[in-house]
């Protein structure tokens, strides 16, 4: 059964002619990839386009994925690159910046969820907005690592390899992000 296959086996099955294997693969990762892209772009239309672009890359050229590497790392690398390309295109056209400009938040700062999460349900909607504001206050590097770790669930070592930076850099960014989130949430609460 395709559901029992791991990611690499599903890609191999798709390469061998099983289109359903790609459907299983997409079903398995769509929430994380779409959530990540929605958070990055802050726009459903952009997230939809990028999501399609990411999976069409696999559809058209499954050989682009090397079976020796972790599929999720490959998938999020493709997703991140696609988002960065979009950001560069929009930036060169003088459109809005992905991460805002100075103190002004960008699209990534307004990725509102359709339904309240556990924390929001507990603390009320106001907390969700405060958390969004706190996330918006993170630097681009901090936010990138924070989102990647959350949505991809890759280890910090894998994220470091993806971003081509030392693992210490990734941990330092996360640590500074945590300090900033705490500062913002405590400050807002007072």
């Amino acid at each position: 059964m395709p559901e029992e296959l791991n990611d690499a086996e599903l890609v191999a099955a798709y390469k061998a002619g099983d289109a359903g294997a790609l459907g299983t693969l997409m079903e398995r990762h769509k929430a994380a990839v779409y959530g990540y892209l929605l958070r990055l772009t802050g726009r459903t239309d952009a997230a939809e386009d990028l999501f399609q672009e990411v999976f069409l890359k696999l559809v058209k050229n499954p050989g682009a994925y090397n079976e020796r590497e972790k599929f999720k790392a490959w998938l999020f690398t493709v997703a991140r690159n696609a988002a960065m390309d979009l950001f560069r295109r929009e930036s060169s056209r003088g459109e809005v910046s992905l991460y805002g400009d100075g103190d002004k938040p960008g699209p990534a700062d307004f990725a509102a969820s359709a339904e309240p999460g556990p924390a929001e349900a507990f603390y009320g909607k106001a907390l969700g907005e405060r958390i969004d504001a706190a996330l918006a206050s993170l630097s681009e590097d901090q936010r990138e690592v924070f989102y990647l770790r959350h949505y991809s669930e890759l280890s910090f070592k894998e994220i470091a390899e993806m971003l081509k930076v030392p693992i210490g850099t990734v941990l330092a960014r996360m640590s500074r992000a945590a300090a900033q989130l705490r500062k913002k949430l405590e400050g807002e609460a007072q």
Partner: protein, 159 residues
């Protein structure tokens, strides 16, 4: 926060600390309200990111699956042509093999290769000539008969 537990706290929060480090961080957390606050902030932000999102639209998923089916079809078409080419080659080789071997065995018995055909041609020609002579000699029986007898002699020689 100046407790130098920032990165250790991150590893602990995301389950990447080994048992010893995890125990060390837990001991530290008991006496560090700042680190406890950071953990709480990370948890709250994580929960916010985990909030249910609608996911890609059905149309997007449909478009991707349609492209996947088309790509698979195109790839199978390509393979089939290769299979077809291989099959054609194998059949051609088999036919050449059969033709070559059956030709060698049968060549000695074939009419055109045994000389039988040329002999039959001679017989046929002689009969035709005899009939022709007989027809032309109907006005002169004596001559015709003797001539026919002569031809018969020639005929027997030619066979």
């Amino acid at each position: 926060m100046n407790c130098e537990y920032g990165e250790k706290l991150i590893l602990y929060r995301y389950g990447e600390a080994g048992p010893r480090l995890a125990a060390e961080v837990e001991a530290h957390l008991a006496g560090c309200p700042a680190c406890r606050s950071e953990l709480a902030a990370l948890s709250a932000a994580g929960a916010r990111l985990s909030a249910a999102v609608p996911g890609p639209s059905d149309e997007t998923v449909f478009n991707i699956m349609r492209a996947a089916r088309a790509a698979v079809s195109a790839r199978s078409g390509f393979s089939f042509k290769w299979g077809e080419a291989l099959l054609s080659g194998a059949l051609a080789s088999a036919m050449a093999f059969v033709f070559a071997f059956s030709g060698t065995r049968a060549s000695a018995d074939l009419a055109w290769n045994s000389g039988l055909d040329s002999k039959l041609d001679s017989v046929e020609y002689s009969v035709y000539q005899a009939q022709s002579d007989l027809a032309s000699a109907t006005g002169d029986w004596e001559y015709g008969l003797s001539a026919l007898e002569d031809e018969s002699l020639d005929f027997s020689k030619s066979v």
